[in-house]
Amino acid sequence: MSETHESALPVHVVGVGLWSPGFPDAPRFLAGEPDPEVKKPPCALVKSRMKRATSVLTRSAVEVTTQAIEAAGWPLDEVATVFGSQHGEIQIAVEQMQMMQEGSGVVSPARFKNSVHNTAAGLFSIAATNKRFTTAIAAGAHTFAMCLLEAWGLMLAGEAERVVVTVGEEPLPAPITHFSPHRALALSFALARDAAPERSLGLIGRPERGEGEATPVDAGFEGHTAAGGLRLLRALHGGHEGALALSPGWQLPMRAARARAATGAAE
């Protein structure tokens, strides 16, 4: 591996987080052993009072963000965060539309304040007392790629040393479910410019144009907003090296720590 190639992979992945019905975390997901008891994201970081009237999307996003930061061994208040979702708080949005047609036609203030796209970003910042940069992004099928691009930009421009990227979706409710029958899933990656060798799960570069390798995505999550992220998760776990397909037309150069160890490349 040349130094040039190595410097094109300037960002370490140092922690991951995952939640989906049946899967409380990334190891259980990678093992492919669903637990039927896992139905709601625990989101233990957030007090019950604050969790009330929040969506599965928000609670799962905060849950996996916390998992990724804790896996990285970082304080919760010393990271910048980038949250992404294609559909956002769609369950609350449609629930409010129903309220508009019932009774007095007014909506719930508790639901409304948790209906914005940055609800997870806000809730995490409050629960973690994190006053740093946070954002919430949407870019259709390219949402995960653009979140990584924003995180890469924050780090390379010197605005943040550590960034957590979290993407998630919850199912579309009736009457629009059929437009995208995706499942609930939230996925998080803790990224840093520097990491101790034993902490690094692998290196990634800048999301770039290209049709990278479309390695298989777990059954039921093909076409999911987080599909590129699941591909990265499997690649890190499986010792992959190369350019991974993130979304149509966007790819991510990466090398898993296990691949780096196998080739003897320098850190």
Binding site: D77, Q86, H87, G88, A93, V94, Q96, M97, Q98, M100, Q101, S104, G105, V106, V107, S108, P109, F112, K113, N114, S115, V116, H117, N118, T119, A121, G122, L123, S125, I126, A128, N130, K131, R132, F133, T134, T135, A136, I137, A138, A139, G140, H142, T143, M146, L149, E150, W152, G153, L154, L156, A157, E159, A174, P175, I176, H178, F179, S180, R206
Partner: protein, 400 residues
């Protein structure tokens, strides 16, 4: 903190409650006319909104009819004013080198309101019988209106939407700056669009902050806020193609870490965002000629922001909330008010602080009652949001 490289803003355009074109909007601001009027749909309570004047918004051009939404129509209307500049930038830099980063809080949610209202109570066959002209993927999601811009302008650079509620289209400036500084684009079309919809009008009413009369930011007799709508676009690019109408000198972005819908009462997060923006530009508070406040006209926002402003500027620097004219354009307000700030720099005047007299006795900042003429080199423009999400823009007078 190291100073950041200044980036030229070479063009801008907007539509909002004050007018359909940039000229109309600016003239209304000069005339001290408010753009607050009837809500363009039925609601079960009294309210006025910053509705774009002149009746129904023009339909989308023929090839884009299937992208229908109020936000999409507003997008097309506002984009007309900057189209020639964007096409010139595309010609100069190449379509793949012009990125788009836009802010919105709702995207095309009004289309799902329309479909849901039509469907609700009529039973639920599978798939549900929804209006034939409703197309969720092309109309509702956040990226839909941005795809419309990309197609109208023929732009192929990276694009994404920032949706952090009312700070969305202030934060797009820092995203764009990163794309420029890291060589991923030579020009970035930034901005924000939010069309009026039931979700926001009824939502803010549920919080008990909606007014049925014009808002009075920082005034003792404030009745609450008015939701507004707007589409505002600005072109950031590498130097050389076109003269800078203004320079982006700093962006401050912080989190309150306090409450989902109320600002931290002492305004600490807002203060930190303004300080960060100033530090990025290497500019001292006394060099700021004008602050375009977030100034929603609600008690808690006005109190927190005015404390932060007083800490930084005392009662000397003029502060105005232009939401008294436009209403709160939500995801568009960062870009709308950045354009008002640039107008102040270009023409050397500060809008009148409508409705701020008599002043809230807790507010200790300088708000001009009438238009104030003065030359300025720097302005700050604030945008704060649900989730305690704060952004502050530092802008410098350009070359024109």
């Amino acid at each position: 903190m190291a100073e950041r490289t200044p980036h030229p803003i070479t063009a801008y355009a907007l539509s909002c409650g004050l007018g359909r074109t940039t000229d109309e909007v600016f003239q209304a601001l000069r005339d001290k006319r408010r753009g607050l009027r009837e809500v363009p749909f039925e609601i079960p309570f009294e309210a006025i909104t910053g509705t774009v004047p002149g009746g129904p918004l023009p339909p989308l051009p023929e090839p884009f009819r299937d992208r229908e939404s109020r936000t999409a129509r507003l997008t097309a209307l506002g984009f007309r004013g900057i189209e020639a500049d964007v096409l010139a930038a595309r010609e100069h830099w190449g379509p793949e080198r012009v990125a788009i980063v836009l802010g919105t809080s709702t995207g095309g949610i009004d289309r799902t309101e329309y479909a849901h209202f039509d469907w609700f109570g009529r039973g639920a066959p599978e798939p549900p019988a929804l209006p034939a002209d409703y197309d969720y993927p092309k109309q509702h999601p956040f990226h839909a209106f941005e795809d419309l811009v990309a197609e109208m302008a023929g732009l192929e650079g990276p694009r994404f939407v920032v949706s952090t509620a009312c700070s969305s289209s202030a934060k797009v400036f820092s995203s764009a700056r990163r794309l420029l500084e890291l060589g991923l684009a030579d020009a970035v079309l930034v901005g924000g669009v939010d069309g009026l919809c039931n979700t926001t009008v009824r939502g803010f009413n549920s919080l008990g902050v909606m007014a049925s009369e014009p808002c009075r930011p920082f005034g003792a007799e404030r009745p609450g806020m008015n939701v507004g709508e707007g589409a505002a676009f600005l072109l950031l690019e590498r130097p050389g193609r076109a003269p800078a109408r203004a320079w982006l000198r700093g962006v401050g972005e912080t989190s309150d870490a306090y409450h989902m819908s109320s600002p931290e009462p002492e305004g600490r997060g807002a203060l930190a965002a303004m300080e960060q923006a100033l530090a990025e530009g290497g500019v001292r508070p006394e060099q700021i000629g004008y602050v375009n406040a977030h100034g929603t006209g609600t008690k808690y926002n006005d109190a927190a922001e005015s404390k932060a402003l007083h800490t930084l500027f005392g009662d000397g620097t003029p502060v105005v909330s232009t939401k008294a004219y436009t209403g709160h354009t939500l995801g568009a307000c960062g870009a709308v008010e950045a354009i008002f700030s640039i107008l102040a720099l270009e023409e050397g005047w500060i809008p009148a602080g409508l409705g701020a007299t008599p002043r809230d006795p807790e507010v200790h900042i300088a708000i001009p009652d009438d238009i104030l003429r003065q030359d300025m080199r720097f302005v700050l423009s604030n945008a704060f949001a649900f989730g305690g999400n704060n952004a502050s823009l530092l802008l410098e007078r350009g070359e024109s």
